[in-house]
């Protein structure tokens, strides 16, 4: 009898089947890796197992017993603990206080500090991280140590099943080893561990068993020894997508619009890259690779620590998006609802927010001229909206994305010489709208703009990019012309399944 069994799980969100009749079996004393692209269904499966999402169909069994999970609490009561990606520590408390939060030993409501510290120390020693200072303020610990405290708290009860969602994202190599030792120790006690990761090197180091999800289905599962690291990426990506190498543009001879030299900042380190007029540069990487941080730093939305940014060959200091825009450097941010749109304002107001200076002589806005500009953009991008006065919140994802992007076309039809930094430009929009966005993006490059597309969608990367930079853990780990890459090789770099750092240098 398996320790945990998820049988025939179906979960549908509006417009997408996240889990399509998934079976998943976790044995005792097993470390079971769950891998797949963003959107493959990993997080949904984890949420179902943890009781955070109710499946539309299917059941979960623990020790052969059917579980009724209505809430994350229910799973916890059955000994299923989840360590999430996000930190859940209380900033001003010590390590010991955080670990035993909510179950502090106390008499008459007064916490017995001595006992608290003793228990925390025992727990940490048990986990093999006894060298962590239990009296330290968690705030003063590094990200990696904080993560270990978080994990220790999750493991303070004696769990039967541990689910780790991307646990190593902020850990150093040594800390990762610590964590792995701890996991092995739990495994020896018969605990089952589900290990969700983008990092195949780690998967192959720690896991006994692997399940690969794609488009909500299990495409492959078996003991890790039955797989070769270089085969897994292909299984993750699945369908062979026509890798059109014929129509890529070699713009490396054209003027360099943007050059970045040894740029360092929060989340990325020593990044150098070039963007030429007329090309689309793909920036690949998994979530957390540092792409967003890099792009937002380029336009002055975040701080740059060191390094140099050159625009058309001239070194520039860019401290605010306003300055970046003046230099023709434009960011279309990820998470459009959070960073791109003014949700309560209408289509007209959103589309014209960046071009007001051109349409407000003496500071007074010309409603008519704004209307003209906005309706031009609506027509040019094929934005579907009942009127210019419709709240953007009422539009579909694809149309919202077109508006975030369209405000820059409202600034000027002529895009030549501008650099567009697009962060996940087709995130969460439907297939038709995605293809339209791709046409628009290629169109920009064709008109002489330089375009950077940061994406974790490999198909998008392959369709759009003329050259590719691959980021992993804040560094560029590979770069080259698109024809030099296959989806598989890109994925190997993204996931760290290969040791090689730079596949090909472009002719620079």
């Amino acid at each position: 009898m398996a320790l945990l069994e998820a049988r025939d799980i179906v979960k549908t969100y509006p417009g997408v089947r996240a889990l399509d009749h998934v079976d998943f079996i976790l044995e005792r004393a097993q470390i079971h890796a769950l891998v797949g692209m963003n959107g493959a269904g990993k997080s949904t499966l984890v949420k179902v197992i943890a009781g955070a999402e109710k499946p539309d169909h299917g059941s979960i069994f623990l020790d052969g017993q059917l579980l009724h999970l209505n809430h994350a609490r229910d799973a916890a009561q059955h000994g299923i603990v989840v360590v999430h990606q996000e930190r859940t520590l209380i900033r001003h408390l010590t390590v010991a206080e955080n670990i035993l939060l909510g179950i502090e030993p106390s008499q008459l409501g007064v916490i017995n500090n001595q006992l608290l510290r003793q228990r925390a120390r025992e727990l940490l020693e048990n986990l093999g991280i006894g060298d962590l200072d239990i009296d330290a303020d968690v705030e003063k610990l590094g990200a990696g140590k904080q993560q270990l405290v978080d994990i220790a708290r999750a493991l303070r009860t004696s769990p039967k099943v541990i689910v780790l969602d991307e646990p190593t994202a902020s850990l150093s190599a040594a800390e990762t080893e610590h964590l792995f030792d701890t996991l092995r120790r739990f495994k020896e006690r018969g605990v089952g561990i589900i290990f969700v990761s983008h990092h195949l090197d780690e998967v192959f180091e720690i896991a006994d068993h692997i399940t690969i999800l794609r488009d909500g289905k299990v495409v492959s599962t078996g003991p890790i020894t039955a797989y070769k690291p270089e085969d897994v990426p292909r299984l993750i990506v699945g369908r062979e997508i026509a890798e059109t190498t014929s129509d890529y543009v070699d713009a490396t001879g054209r003027p360099v619009l943007l050059e970045v030299r040894n740029l360092c900042g929060e989340g990325f380190d020593d990044i150098s890259l070039k963007v030429h007029a007329g090309e689309v540069v793909g920036l690949a990487g998994v979530v957390g690779a540092g792409r967003t941080e890099l792009l937002e730093s380029l336009v002055g939305y975040r701080d740059v620590r060191s390094g140099e940014i050159l625009i058309k060959g001239e070194s520039k200091r860019i401290r605010t998006p306003q300055q970046a825009i003046r230099h023709g450097l434009i960011l279309v941010p990820e998470k459009r609802m959070e960073k791109g749109l003014m949700m309560r304002l209408d289509v007209l107001e959103n589309l014209t927010v960046a071009c007001l200076p051109d349409h407000s002589p003496a500071g007074v806005v010309s409603e008519q001229s704004l209307r003209q500009v906005a309706s031009n953009v609506v027509k040019r991008l094929g934005i579907v909206t009942p009127s210019l006065r419709t709240n953007v919140g009422n539009l579909s994802g694809g149309n919202k994305q077109k508006i975030v992007f369209g405000k820059w076309l409202a600034v000027g039809e002529d895009v030549q010489g501008k650099v567009f930094l697009l962060d996940e430009p087709t995130e969460g929009i439907d297939v038709g709208a995605r293809a339209e966005m791709w046409n628009i993006i290629r169109g920009l490059a064709a008109q002489g703009a330089g375009v950077v597309v940061a994406t974790s969608d490999l198909e998008e990367l392959m369709v759009l990019a003329d050259r590719i930079y691959i980021m992993r853990a804040g560094k560029v780990v590979g770069s080259g012309r698109r024809p030099d890459f296959t989806q598989e090789t890109v994925l190997q770099h993204m996931l760290g399944a290969t040791e090689a750092t730079v596949v090909q240098h472009t002719s620079q």
Partner: protein, 330 residues
């Protein structure tokens, strides 16, 4: 992967009135009408030309403060100091004329500048040192009160004031009080600023989503700053109007405006342009408060009921807006 809902945008709406939308948008206006009619039924004298003009005169000062506060809230900031800043300006204008024997123009300019100065101070503290405006203006409110007492010693200021000055609050143009005309003119200016100027649009964009506004190239700090300066300046103008109307300055005479103006702005956010602080909405809010105050007086309700009702309105307006997700706190 979460795909957003299929587009409903292309769907054609039936040409008939969308009642649900109408009620959501104009519910607050309907409530204003209902309150009006209720007082009319309870007390016939309520709807006389004289009383209606009286209501307008009573709300004119509040309208000026609330209009300024609207700009501040539209920029995404709060100003909880408008009442005490108005009181300070009211004391200053009287004191400068009566005690320092300054001409009316000098007193007026200094009083108005005191409001703008407080706004500037808050703008600086909020945008440069990143202190939340809620905190900066509560603290600043106490400072304004302190300055007030330091200047006037906590006493009321009576005395001979020039006729030009008294005209602001007591004068009539035909049958219409000058204060009403002044308030309407101020609201018009505020309306035009927010809706027709580039700076006003930037204020609204900043308040609607500071991240998106910043990434769109807007100097968001500048417009948050401006919002706080506006609320301070117009609070001072209201303080001057109040002193002129009373013919004397009370040390804390304008303090209740903080709560009343907030209530008016929040009520306004539930109507016309929902979820946004907007001048027309604020006008609806101001009129609602004015009618309730006046109506309760007319029907002989005890004075303390007014306080309770006004407090209740503030809470209810915010409750309504939060429930409909028009406003979000924290």
């Amino acid at each position: 992967m979460k795909v957003e809902q299929a587009p409903t945008a292309g769907r054609l709406k039936s040409p008939a009135v969308d009642w649900e939308d109408f009620i959501a948008r104009y519910g607050t206006v309907l409530a204003l009408v209902a309150v009006f009619v209720a007082f009319w039924i309870l007390e016939g004298r309520f709807v006389s030309g004289r009383n209606l003009l009286n209501i307008l005169r009573q709300v004119s000062t509040l309208a000026v403060v609330a209009g300024g506060l609207t700009i501040c809230v539209a920029a995404g900031e709060f100003d909880l100091s408008v009442g005490t800043v108005a009181s300070l300006a009211g004391i200053l204008v009287a004191g400068l004329m009566v005690r320092q024997e300054q001409p009316f123009e000098v007193a007026l300019v200094v009083a108005l500048l005191s409001g703008a100065a407080f706004g500037t101070l808050f703008g600086f503290i909020v945008t440069v040192f990143r202190v939340p405006s809620l905190i900066a203006t509560i603290g600043g409110s106490s400072i304004a009160l302190g300055v007030n007492f330091a200047y006037a010693g906590g006493d009321s200021i009576y005395g001979q004031m020039p006729a030009t000055f008294k005209f602001i609050g007591q004068g009539f143009v035909g049958v219409v009080p000058f204060a009403v005309i002044l308030a309407l003119a101020v609201l018009l200016v505020q309306y035009l600023f927010l809706n027709k100027t580039r700076a006003g649009r930037y204020v609204i964009a900043t308040g609607a989503n500071p991240k998106a506004a910043k990434l769109s190239g807007i100097n968001t700090e500048r417009y948050r700053f401006l919002g706080l300066v506006c609320s301070g300046f117009f609070a001072a103008l209201a303080g001057v109007m109040l002193t002129s109307y009373l013919g004397s300055a009370q040390p804390q005479g304008a303090d209740p405006y903080t709560m009343d103006a907030l209530a008016a702005v929040f009520l306004g956010m539930t109507t016309i342009k929902r979820g946004q602080a907007n001048i027309l909405g604020t006008l609806v809010g101001v009129l609602t408060l004015g009618i309730i105050n006046n109506g309760l007086n007319m029907v002989g309700a005890p004075f303390y009921l007014q306080n309770m009702v006004r407090g209740g309105i503030l809470i209810f307006a915010v409750l309504l807006a939060v429930r409909r997700e028009e406003i979000r706190f924290f």
